[in-house]
Symmetry: C2
Subunit: 309 residues, 2 copies
């Protein structure tokens, strides 16, 4: 018996990742999609979630991959309609909303899988295993990409609530919080806002573990040429490097594993979602989101050159 | 048997509120104070918490009323030293830190009382009782005060991490979340930053209950003349007004109760702390802080005229 899925939001991430991953997994059957202006072949298409719930009541679960401002209302409605929910990152507009969704999932006894796709990158599990029992002495995140290349024309990222460079940067924080044994807090931050935009184009975040170890994170949307999605964690017994967003693992500079790309993340996400639905459990860990909110809360603001999407 | 208290931070709030409340309550004995540059008569005085813990090991609990950036390290050290902790608002620099302190208190089986003094204003309990079972239709918070009068020379409030107008504004949110039956989320916000400061001098926050009811909050540090600390909540069966920061209660414009001022808040806080210590329980509710972080996270920023403390 496969799980019947309704997909909400038919944009780039849906076509690149969700739909191929769903169609390749026999535990799922994609039966419906909802989008204001796009349709998908071979399924029932609806303009919105309300119409989908009414028109395809046999749907077991809703996978939500709209921009984040629409997540909360959709996920709440889906849970209240008795559906399991898988949520793209970042989970919601605000941190308060994700905690309310988590409460609702418990109340309704439905699965809420609040995903961080980067945690399913090929080398993240191995990195966590290698770090377990080792003693951290320093850490560094470098997450620099060309926003024009990766997010062409996406003005919403630079609007208030769009999170700016933290939209990709939160992926690094999701991996960091997954592989580290200890918790981290934001100690300070510097956020660079283009003078014509409401969300930061670059940020530096100083993190600190409970043991006082500093982890410096640099996020930048203005990177031309080589793109960087790297985490380096130095311990008393060797240094771990996770690069390509978690696909490649190196210890002391020697590459131990390297995935061709990010192709495996979404298939693994949906495998996990199937397992969670089967047991009725939820997975919600909004610590990465909380770190971003904390960076906004205490970060110094600096105004920089205008940016045009 | 009274609880022996060490007070950390001997500033305005300590002298105006904490010390008088402690000295008037026989459940407590103030035995030690720590401050970089102030001393208190009749107790052991220390330059910092480490010295106080070493010099006055008989202390049962630590009450922390330093500026918030110092709260986390102090509270963590106190809990790890086996002391009960009472924390002034706002609880910590970041939302992540208060959740870590809550975890530590559970691990150490110590009381962590993360306080919101405005919740102990005279009419807050009556307001919650009146609202219980009623149906909210609209709400409004107006929290406007003259920062020059109430926070003379306190530059830290306008530094990054000082929270600006949310330093008093969080009091309103602490009362709102206490009296409302339903949870609220930040729907949108507009933050006004003086061009020479890192924290907002005014803010408008649009809150929304789970039922979709709008509550508009206005916070302003530039208020001359009459000062406002008012919450109005309209229901289908009457309108509640809480004014003077929670001291005065009116229903449909008729004043039902009015306290002379805020004199009762801290005595009631310490009564509650004594009760928590006696049972080994904690009270931590960082929803008001989370709402502030969410306002920073998704708020639109506007640059306004410079402000000099």
């Amino acid at each position: 018996m496969s799980l019947k899925v309704g997909l909400l939001g038919v944009g780039k991430i849906a076509r690149d990742q969700h739909i191929p991953a769903l169609r390749a997994n026999r535990k799922f059957e994609l039966v419906a999609c909802a989008s204001r202006n796009a349709t998908v072949d071979g399924v029932a298409n609806y303009p919105d979630l309300v119409a989908m719930l009414a028109g395809s009541p046999q749907v077991d679960c809703i996978s939500i991959c709209t921009p984040p401002t629409a997540h909360f209302d959709a996920a709440m409605l889906a849970l209240k309609s008795g559906k399991h929910v898988m949520l793209e990152k970042p989970p919601t507009s605000t941190t308060r909303q994700i905690s309310l969704l988590a409460d609702e999932a418990v109340r309704r006894k439905r699965t809420l899988f609040q995903t961080w796709h980067s945690r399913f990158a090929a080398s993240v599990d191995a990195a966590r295993d290698w770090l377990s029992g080792r003693k951290l002495v320093a850490g560094r995140i470098v997450w620099k990409e060309d926003v024009h290349h990766w997010h062409p024309g996406q003005q919403w990222i630079f609007d208030a609530g769009g999170f700016g460079v933290f939209d990709p940067g939160i992926n690094a924080l999701s991996v960091l919080t997954e592989v580290l044994t200890h918790d981290v807090c934001v100690q300070g931050a510097l956020l660079e806002f283009p003078e014509n935009q409401q969300a930061p184009i670059a940020a530096r975040v100083d993190l600190r573990t409970a043991d006082g170890i500093a982890i410096e994170a640099e996020f930048d949307f203005r990177q031309k040429g080589e793109q960087s999605w790297d985490i380096e964690l130095a311990t008393t017994t060797g240094t771990l490097g996770l690069s390509n967003g978690g696909a490649t693992l190196a210890i002391d500079g020697r590459t131990l594993a390297s995935d061709a790309g990010l192709a495996g993340e979404y298939p693994r996400l949906y495998e996990k979602f199937a397992a969670l639905c089967a047991t009725g459990k939820s997975e919600v860990d909004w610590r990465p989101f909380q770190l971003v909110a904390d960076a906004f809360l205490i970060g110094e603001r600096r105004i920089v050159a205008p940016h045009h999407v």
